[in-house]
């Protein structure tokens, strides 16, 4: 019972990107995933990549609000890592079979699919951002990602007043949207 509560708290912390929670989950699960990857034709670098990707899946899941934990975090992370690695091996066609299972697993195929879809959308956003150039990119990041207010931004970017900075920000936003939706429509249209 106590462990269950602990796990719930950890997940809530994770959803808020709380440093302590991230660290605890990281520490408790890393070696397990690392041995999984290394025992199945992977390197230490692969292990790090796969583990962090599994952490991202858990994070997205935790913050979606619909996540009901019906297994231990450990089991979930292991299952996702295993699924991710299997996919990677198949893509690299290094490998056609199954990989050994040392821990309990739960079905996570759908979560991993969701994750890959989300990832490709973020990829489009990143591409669109990269294509903007400066100062647009930094301006939008400051406002929408770092959540700074227009007053701060105006002085940091050297605009005479917040109103000017705002106009510039909207101009940049229009460009970003245009590029993003072009990718977005193409991306989903082709699939």
């Amino acid at each position: 019972m106590k462990e269950e509560n602990n796990e719930k708290l950890l997940l809530q912390g994770l959803a808020r990107n709380d440093k302590k929670a991230v660290e605890t989950i990281y520490r408790l699960n890393y070696s397990m995933v690392q041995s999984l990857i290394i025992n199945n034709n992977g390197s230490a670098d692969d292990a790090k990549d796969i583990f962090q990707e599994a952490m991202i899946v858990l994070y997205e899941k935790a913050r979606s609000g619909t996540f009901e934990l019906n297994c231990l975090i450990k089991t979930y992370v292991y299952s996702v890592a295993r699924r991710l690695w299997l996919k990677k091996l198949q893509q690299a066609s290094r490998f056609g079979g199954d990989i050994s299972v040392a821990e309990n697993t739960v079905p996570v195929e759908e979560d991993v699919e969701d994750h890959h879809r989300r990832d490709s959308e973020f990829g489009m956003m990143e591409k669109a951002m990269d294509g903007l150039g400066e100062p647009c990119r930094s301006l939008l990041e400051a406002f929408y990602l770092k959540k700074q207010n227009m007053q701060e931004i105006a002085s940091a970017f050297g605009y005479t007043n917040a109103e000017n900075a705002k106009t510039q920000k909207y101009k940049c936003l229009v460009r970003l949207k245009k590029v993003f939706f072009t990718h977005y429509k193409n991306g989903t249209g082709n699939e």
Binding site: S31, G42, A44, I56, Y144, Y170
Partner: protein
């Protein structure tokens, strides 16, 4: 005008989505939204977009804290990442590559079998037509000139006296001319198989005009790599090789240069690696863009560090500037084969270049002494 309208509309929509409107304004806007489909569409689209943008930002933040946590935990020893050393590393490397090796080997067999039958059955005519091996086939007139040139050279040498008393005279009629380069200090050389495969007598000539007799140790016609050895008592080693031989496939667009003997003097050429594969996707070779002429065959292709990345072998006749080179890793394979012979089991190649960082003029100066013109006769077994 239109643009500034769009911008202020976007601002209004965003204030609405972010919940920054007063109640009166809000009611007014919601009415507007109901009656105007375009505005409604904009609200839906922008909501989606802002959500996406926000989640993108959160994801970036989360990834940043993952890296941070990883660095911390592996720093204080709570997790043991990056600490795979010694045996463990070897084992996982083996685990990782044993399947690949098996698969690669079986593919290699299939490819070798299928391509060799293809080449025999269909390709030869078309292939010869399009792909020109860059061996100079010496015609009658040039052949005479060549002999005369060699004689002249010998006379000059006698006069200047900078050559050993009786330099080996090439008593052959050079039919094929190519280029070769040393791979160790003891006279082992690499050239193309097509330069020497039809010959019985081979001479190599250095940049000073000295000729040495050479013998073929190994021919790999498929990969077009030959190892020859200078077998001449007058040969003096020019010293430790200044260049290494690269084990890796080079990246596209890397600058390269070549040295070779399209004429009786060494000629420098400059270009870049244009594709990782060769003619018709041939994975044994790569495509480079450089001026090459008959006689360049077998010559080394260097990158800017002074490492050999390939052996210049052929060019496509129909396309300007498409020259192909055998990838340098096959030099290693050829030498591995050679080492099975007990006499040569000590042969070792170096991948380290001693001239990296020098400017090109200096590099070429160092390299010249290690590159030779290869002259080979044409031997018809049935005619004698």
């Amino acid at each position: 005008m239109n643009e500034s309208n769009d911008l202020s509309m976007l601002e209004v929509v965003e204030r609405y989505i972010r919940g920054e409107m007063g109640s009166e304004e809000r009611v007014h806007f919601e009415n507007l939204r109901k009656t105007n489909g375009e505005i409604d569409q904009l609200v839906v689209e922008h909501t989606l977009f802002l959500q996406q943008l926000g989640r993108f930002g959160d994801r970036q933040e989360f990834q940043a804290s993952l890296s941070e946590v990883h660095a911390e935990l592996s720093g204080n020893g709570a997790i043991h990442a990056d600490h795979l050393a010694g045996k463990a590393k070897v084992i996982y490397m083996w685990n990782r590559y044993k399947r690949v090796t098996a698969i690669a080997a079986s593919i290699a067999v299939i490819v070798a079998v299928s391509t060799s039958s293809l080449f025999n059955r269909i390709v030869p005519a078309a292939n010869e037509h399009k792909l020109q091996e860059l061996t100079a086939v010496v015609d009658k007139v040039k052949e005479d000139a060549d002999i005369i040139k060699v004689k002249q050279d010998n006379i000059e040498k006698k006069i200047t006296g900078d050559v050993a008393a009786s330099p080996t005279k090439p008593d052959i009629i050079a039919h094929f001319k190519g280029t070769g380069f040393l791979i160790d200090g003891k006279g082992l050389m690499i050239t193309n198989a097509h330069v020497v495969k039809q010959s019985k007598n081979i001479f190599v000539q250095n940049n000073k005009g000295q000729n040495f007799k050479a013998i073929v140790l190994q021919l790999d016609v498929t990969r077009d790599v030959a190892i020859i050895k200078i077998d001449d008592e007058n040969f003096r080693s020019p010293g430790v090789l200044p260049y290494g031989i690269s084990r890796n496939t080079s990246p596209i667009a890397e600058s390269i240069f070549t040295l070779g003997f399209p004429r009786s003097e060494i000629v420098y050429g400059e270009g870049y690696l244009s594709a990782r594969t060769g003619y018709n996707g041939d994975t044994l070779s790569c495509q480079i863009s450089v001026d090459a002429n008959p006689g360049n065959s077998g010559g080394p292709v260097f990158n800017t560090n002074g490492e050999v990345i390939g052996i210049l072998s052929s060019k496509e006749e129909a396309t300007e500037g498409a020259v192909f080179a055998v990838q340098s890793k096959y030099i290693y394979q050829a030498v591995d084969q050679l080492r099975k012979n007990a006499i040569y089991d000590k042969v070792k190649l170096s991948s380290r270049s001693l001239i990296s960082g020098m400017d090109k003029v200096q590099q070429v100066k160092k390299l010249e002494d290690y590159i030779y013109m290869v002259k080979a006769d044409y031997y018809k077994p049935e005619s004698k």
